[in-house]
Amino acid sequence: MPNETRTPSRQFGISRESLTPWLRRLAFYLVLLALWEGVARAGFWPEYLFPGPFTVLETLIRGLRKGTFVTATLVSLRRLAIGYGISLVLGLTLGLLIGRIKALNETLGSLVLGLQALPSVCWLPLAILWFGLSERAIIFVVVLGALFSIILGVEAGVKNTPPLYLKAAHTLGAHGIAIYTQVVLPAALPAILSGLKQGWSFAWRSLMAGELLYFTLSLGNLLQTGRDLNDAAQVMAVMVMIIIVGVSLDQSIFAPLERRVRERWGLG
């Protein structure tokens, strides 16, 4: 019987050590909010330019109650989902091809690398010329925002597939498409995931930038209306909203995925 057993040790429950960072964090934010409120009350600037945290919170709650913030968030999330979905399909396919086919790597690969250097908002003027101020233009920008990061992530992962895995797969009788679906892609998953994560954050940024120019209700558009109405409280409340949506997407989708992959692959 094998005596060489290793079981992953995990700690459950809240210990003193795990509580301290949270307390420290809480204290930090309380001080920050107090400072903010203090500066706002000192009256260096009029309230419509520099509202305190309570005013912003009030605006946020009012916005949520009225439903405008909720609708705006849903509109933005819908665009993000469509755009990101398209770049996911394109990115996985192109990344796989560029990673495995040398001729494509030398040609298309260099183009992707070059385009990655271009902030995706720079596509917006062109998108508006081509599609008008339409849904398609903004989704176009979101797709381009995420696409290159995803391609590069997949490509890096695929190119760095350990040759040993491929040899093992071959000697065990794997061939053709199964090599890709059962060995190359899973082996590349950690790198692919970091590409997907970077892609999503770029998509989210491009979406917000693009929506600033739009007249239909959306998160980015709410920022712009706040500016038009000289209402800094609304601008800040929408910013808080954007942070909340961004952080919760990251925490609910990418963080657990990453944790699982790291655990499974034994990376962390």
């Binding site: 094998p2 290793r6 065990l172 199964a178 899973p186 998953l189």
Partner: protein, 283 residues
């Protein structure tokens, strides 16, 4: 005495009892003029000088020599993973033209897939062969039991020790019921105790299944403990310089005097052949 099933055969620690029909066993290999050269920085390097070798069905051959003497290259060519610069390999009379599951290669690093648990790793080859999920699971379970890893079906590679990983790799290869096992220093990275135990288990499995085994090692005593024949390699260019037939009774014990004497003889040959024999381990 523990009893375990290998295919139709029941093995005990002491020996083998044939239950029903005899196992299919190994196939003969014929290696004719296999050589390998490659170009490195404009220089032609001869990795493997032409090798001729006949391996009988069910024979246990150990390839012994220091690093870089072409043993692994030869194994890789027989597995069909690497192409030779010339020469032919025949497996059971058929010319080898690529990888095939009649010849499975095992690696020093075990090469388990970290995204699959133990059972899925063992099932990998069966899945490629198009065997249904239920049958796959049954076969996998049988071989997981055979390598004493019952209870670790759901574990992942990084949760296993080096010895356990090699057991999984062995189960994964055996599940395909290959006629030839090509083992490239599979126990090279293990501690002495684990290695001894795995040697005994491998010998037991071989005795029960009579597969043809080519086993690469740079450990002289390991080679003598396991092999029917020990082929001594020398580097630059990689070639076979001597062949020893080991007629010691099995199961062999590493501390047996006859085995130690035999090891001394072979070590001497290795030292005489080349000053690089320092890479060979007398342990």
């Amino acid at each position: 005495m523990t009893e375990r099933m290998v295919g139709e055969v029941q093995i005990t620690r002491a020996g083998i009892t044939i239950q029903s029909e005899p196992p299919p066993g190994g196939i003969p290999l014929r290696i004719a003029g296999i050589h390998k050269t490659f170009v490195s920085r404009g220089r032609t390097v001869e990795a493997l000088h032409p090798v001729d070798l006949d391996v009988h069905a069910g024979e246990f051959i150990c390839l012994l020599g220091p690093s870089g003497c072409g043993k692994s290259t030869l194994l890789s060519i027989i597995a069909g993973l690497d192409s030779a610069s010339g020469g032919t390999v025949w497996a059971n009379g058929c010319e080898v033209r690529g990888p095939g599951t009649d010849r499975v290669l095992l690696f020093q690093e075990a090469a388990l897939f970290p995204w699959l648990d133990v059972q899925r790793n063992v099932e990998f080859g069966l899945r490629q062969a198009g065997i249904g999920a239920k049958e796959r699971a049954e076969i996998a379970q049988r071989f997981i039991n055979l390598v004493h890893l019952t209870g670790f079906e759901r574990s992942y590679t990084h949760q296993l020790s080096g010895g356990m990983r090699q057991r999984v790799a062995l189960a994964r290869a055996l599940a395909l019921d290959p006629a030839v096992l090509l083992m490239d220093e599979p126990f090279g990275a293990l501690d002495a105790l684990t290695r001894d135990r795995l040697q005994i288990e491998l010998e037991t499995i071989w005795a029960a299944t009579r597969k043809t085994i080519l086993f690469v090692t740079h450990n002289v005593r390991e080679a003598i403990a396991l092999g029917d024949r020990v082929l001594v390699f020398a580097p630059r260019p990689g070639r076979i310089i001597r062949e020893f037939r080991i007629n010691l009774p099995r199961p062999r014990r590493l501390e047996d005097h006859a085995l130690v004497d035999q090891a001394a003889t072979i070590l001497k040959v290795l030292h005489e052949s080349d000053d690089t024999a320092g890479g060979v381990n007398a342990q």
